[in-house]
């Protein structure tokens, strides 16, 4: 019998997507990769794989190239109630649809990487019902990233590998119990970049 605490910890270890940027070779064909490279979502094992450009262009039902929109504007804000329904203990979260599981997943960054939990359909509808941009979310490869600053909320629709990049940046710059100033700086920098990128894509 595995104690429930151990069970939860092992399950998190099993289900968390690995942090990107650890691989120096394409995980599909083995070709060497440059620092900035593409990713594909392996929808059956729920992993994000580093891929060379050639492999990233090949789409199958099990391997989806991570492409996606960069969307952000003020009308995309969510309400405090919608945020509360996500039930995350930190001020950042992203939501995506996992096609293999057939459900929405809410994920948020923690000191040890991404933490995931399934999101009840009703809660997703409460969040996305009034937002056509969220209803058109591409399964597995696009996510809605929400950041809370006090009473204000910013939402973005972005490729999911960027979400894991953010998780990775938080994990590597985390120190102490509350993350420390380096984390806050890293997160600010990420969002500044994202806002620029979304502006450029609009």
């Amino acid at each position: 019998m595995i104690h429930r605490r151990t069970f939860s910890a092992l399950r998190r270890l099993l289900t968390a997507m690995p942090i990107q940027g650890q691989s120096a070779a394409c995980e599909l064909c083995g070709a060497p990769l440059s620092g900035e490279h593409s990713h594909v979502a392996d929808t059956s094992s729920r992993r994000l794989l580093c891929a060379c450009d050639r492999c990233a262009r090949t789409s199958t039902s099990a391997m989806q190239p991570v492409t996606g929109r960069y969307l952000h504007d003020r009308r995309m804000s969510i309400t405090a109630e919608q945020w509360a329904a996500l039930d995350v203990p930190v001020d950042l979260a992203f939501v995506f649809f996992n096609a293999a599981l057939g459900r929405f997943i809410v994920s948020y960054p923690g000191p040890a990487g991404a933490i995931e939990s399934p999101l009840a359909v009703a809660r997703w509808q409460a969040l996305a019902g009034a937002h056509p941009w969220a209803e058109q979310l591409l399964p597995d490869v696009e996510a809605v990233l929400v950041r809370r600053a006090g009473d204000a909320f910013q939402s973005f629709v972005i490729p999911i590998d960027r979400c894991y990049e953010l998780v990775g940046r938080i994990r590597t710059s985390w120190s102490g119990l509350d993350g420390g100033d380096a984390v806050r700086l890293e997160v600010d920098r990420f969002f500044a970049d994202l806002t620029t990128r979304c502006g450029a894509a609009a």
Binding site: M1, I2, R4, R5, F7, S8, L10, R11, R12, L14, E27, D42, S44, S45, R47, L49, A62, P89, V90, D91, L92, P109, G110, P111, I115, E116, S117, P118, A120, R147, R148, A149, G150, I170, L177, D178, G179, V183, R184, V187
Partner: protein, 177 residues
């Protein structure tokens, strides 16, 4: 070839172990090795029980005997391989408890969805039962049968919501913004 192909998994293990060896006796390297050893020991113990069960001849079907072992059952549940659904296991755990409940008390599973179970406890005012004891006993039984359950609500008992464990809550729920 799937990424879960054992050959590819072995290759990933090789890479990770090689970089772990380079990390020498530093704190995190040592912790990672200790973690890997402990996880292997857990699965090794599970495998040895599988072999033991397969060796012993019995009339009961093998699958039934396998899931009857608490360690094997929880490893299967961990990987989503348990042949019985969470709901079925909780139902069975409650059924097993019924004969031992005080007179007049009955328990029924309302739902078991997304790691959250709702249990209705029929507890007439006259029944002499300590709600705390009953809640603890039910929680333990449900957890053993279905470790996937992370919170349980007992309708009909005082203080009805038990949050067993918030999955993955960081030590400090600090604002990252």
């Amino acid at each position: 070839m799937s990424v879960d192909d054992p050959v590819l998994i072995a290759a990933r293990i090789d890479t990770a172990l090689a970089s772990l060896e380079k990390s020498g006796e530093t704190g995190s390297g040592q912790e990672a090795r200790e973690l890997a050893r402990s996880i292997m020991a857990l699965y090794g113990e599970g495998l040895s029980r599988v072999i033991e069960i397969a060796r012993v001849s019995s009339d009961a079907p093998v699958l039934e005997r396998l899931v009857g072992d608490p360690l094997i059952a929880s490893l299967l549940a961990l990987h989503g391989l348990h042949p019985e659904s969470v709901e079925e296991r909780v139902q069975r755990a409650l059924a097993a408890m019924r004969p031992a409940l005080p007179a007049g008390v009955d328990v029924n599973l309302v739902s078991a969805v997304d790691g959250h179970a709702v249990v209705h406890v029929g507890c007439p005012g006259a029944a002499s039962v300590r709600h705390g004891d009953l809640r603890r006993a039910l929680t333990r039984a449900i957890q053993e049968a279905a470790p996937e359950i992370e919170s349980i609500r007992f309708d009909g008992l005082h203080d009805d919501l038990i949050q067993i464990m918030r999955p993955g809550k960081p030590l400090a729920a600090s604002p990252l913004a």
